[in-house]
């Protein structure tokens, strides 16, 4: 019941315009861009749905994801950050995985719905 309301609020352009300065500040403070990561790289991937979504990524995205993970891990081991010029640019920090996750989640929901159908005699 709350989900449609939440979606309507989140997609409202006026609301987004108000929140944008706060959200940019939050993203910069959280610091993942200093390690060259994207937001979607940080999602906890140890669930069946996200594993299936990762399997559906194309080759370029998969390679990029693996490279960013290795680079960030190495930086973390050596207690370093990337130089400012190499931080993730905002235009590169797009949702490459979340749409796929939503797609897979909807497929699971559909399957569960079909598997738990009740029959009504007409």
């Amino acid at each position: 019941m709350l989900e449609p309301i939440a979606r309507a609020v989140q997609s409202n352009s006026a609301f987004r315009a108000i929140c944008r300065p706060l959200s940019s500040a939050w993203v910069n403070l959280s610091g993942y861009r200093r390690y060259g990561m994207r937001y979607d790289d940080l999602l906890r991937e140890e669930t069946p749905i996200i594993q299936e979504a990762i399997a559906r990524l194309n080759r370029d995205e998969t390679d990029g994801r693996v490279y960013r993970q290795k680079r960030a891990f190495q930086l973390s081991l050596s207690h370093q950050e990337l130089p400012l010029t190499q931080w993730t640019k905002p235009q590169d920090d797009y949702k490459y995985l979340q749409p796929l996750i939503e797609e897979v989640r909807l497929e699971h929901v559909e399957r569960d719905a079909f598997n738990s159908m009740t029959f009504v005699k007409k």
Partner: protein, 437 residues
């Protein structure tokens, strides 16, 4: 016992073949009107048996393997396998589950000329399935993650076709006879350049032109079907920028394909060029398959096979601009040469100059085959799709026309140079130019 049967047969032959009983189902297919929707999609339907609650609807696309180019080799096979997969409206899972709930059967098949997606269902479910077929035509996603599953299925089908000597022989016959166009393999071979959903989508875009699509149905009223088609996504299809084309079929006789095989049984296929309308009747004239169980009757090739101990099977293909008729001979490696030479001699001696009784027998057999096929939903769909797309259709009328010209057709066809395919121990291969044609 034997003489009694021959007497019976002779007395039936002495009386002329009885005039056909006009039946709603048979007459309807040939006389079914073909309606064209606003954007050029052909719609044809046959009302069928009013007692039966069953109906079937098919989406037929004139984009079979003959329209493949070297860049799209195997695309028709992939496009067939992408039937009923994820579309913009519903997932493949939902399509299948809803079909199961409706008690419907979903089939996808491809021939060298057409790709057909068929739904067999109850009459009440036809509007829903016309919508599904419209979504398949206009909104299939061709997703990459689906392509992996499809490629596995296509690979398995191609491998099992290649391992079956009959399919391999027929594929080889077409390649030997027609080279390109109709000569393209029906299956996606190892050399197929199709390796992504995008490649299939590209082929589908040129294939799904309104002029190449027909919706045919049995158990549905034609006008109702046309209305359903107009209100589905099919009405949004437009003529694409790139068009599919196929070279006109030209038969090259005297060519032989040789495939080596480790099997102890060798197979040899022999095919003649014929008019598409008479291909089925000529195959019946070859007399390679007896209609009487455990007996070869008076059929020359069947008797020869029974006495000499080899296998023989006839085949015939009728395309829009070419026809093939022939036999596949199967025998152990040591006996294949003798068997093929005897079959070739029998064809030239007895069948090319067949007349009277043999002609009548063949005409009756072909007529029964067509009538039996038109009594089934699948056969009616097949005939209707050929009629709707302007291709050669097997109807009772066409078979009667062929019967009138059968003996002259036989003399012409069975004296011409055939093509051949041999599968087996290549050192024992008989060569087609030594067979006397």
């Amino acid at each position: 016992m034997l003489s009694y049967r021959i007497t019976m047969f002779q007395s039936k032959v002495a009386a002329k073949i009885v005039a056909p009983i006009a039946s709603r189902a048979y007459a309807s297919v040939a006389s079914a009107p073909v309606v064209s929707t606003a954007n050029g999609i052909k719609v044809a339907a046959v009302a069928g048996n009013s007692d039966s609650p069953l109906a079937s609807v098919s989406l037929v696309i004139n984009a079979g393997s003959r329209f493949e180019t070297s860049e799209s080799a195997g695309a028709a096979h992939y496009l067939k396998a992408f039937g009923f997969r994820n579309t913009q409206t519903r997932t493949s899972f939902r399509t299948v589950r809803e079909a199961e709930l409706n008690g419907a059967t979903l089939t996808a098949e491809t021939t060298r000329e057409n790709i057909t997606y068929t739904v067999q269902c109850f009459k009440e479910a036809v509007p829903y399935f016309v919508e599904v077929l419209g979504d398949i035509a206009a909104a299939t996603k061709f997703a990459e993650h689906e392509f992996k599953d499809v490629a596995q299925l296509v690979g398995f089908e191609s491998l099992s076709a290649r391992s079956d000597p009959m399919s391999r022989a027929l594929d080889g016959i077409h390649q030997a006879a027609f080279r390109s166009g109709l000569g393209n393999s029906l299956y996606a071979l190892e050399s197929s350049p199709v390796s992504s959903g995008d490649a299939v989508r590209q082929y589908a875009q040129s294939a799904l032109a309104p002029g190449r699509i027909a919706i045919v149905a049995t158990g549905v009223d034609a006008q109702e079907l046309a209305n359903l088609v107009s209100s589905s996504r099919l009405s949004s299809l437009v003529t694409p920028a790139s068009a599919l084309s196929s070279p006109a079929a030209s038969f090259t006789g005297g060519v032989q394909q040789i495939y080596d095989s480790a099997s102890p049984v060798s197979h040899y296929a022999l095919a003649f060029a014929s008019e598409p309308a008479s291909a089925q009747s000529l195959a019946a004239l070859l007399g390679a398959q007896s209609r009487i169980k455990w007996s070869s009757g008076v059929l020359p090739l069947a008797k020869l096979a029974a006495t000499d101990g080899f296998g023989i099977a006839p085949f015939s293909f009728a395309y829009s601009d070419a026809g093939l008729v022939g036999v596949i001979v199967s025998a152990p490696n040591t006996r294949i040469k003798a068997a093929v030479e005897k079959v070739a001699a029998t064809i030239q001696r007895e069948i090319a100059s067949a007349s009277g009784e043999a002609i009548q027998r063949a005409a009756a057999a072909a007529r029964v085959d067509v009538a039996e096929s038109l009594a089934t939903q699948q056969g009616q769909i097949h005939a209707l799709s050929n009629i709707a797309l302007g291709q050669t259709a097997a109807t009772l009328e066409s078979v009667d026309d062929a019967a009138a010209k059968l003996s002259s057709a036989a003399a012409r066809v069975f004296k011409s140079k055939p093509v051949a395919v041999s599968i087996g121990l290549s050192q024992n291969t008989p060569y087609v130019d030594t067979l006397g044609f």
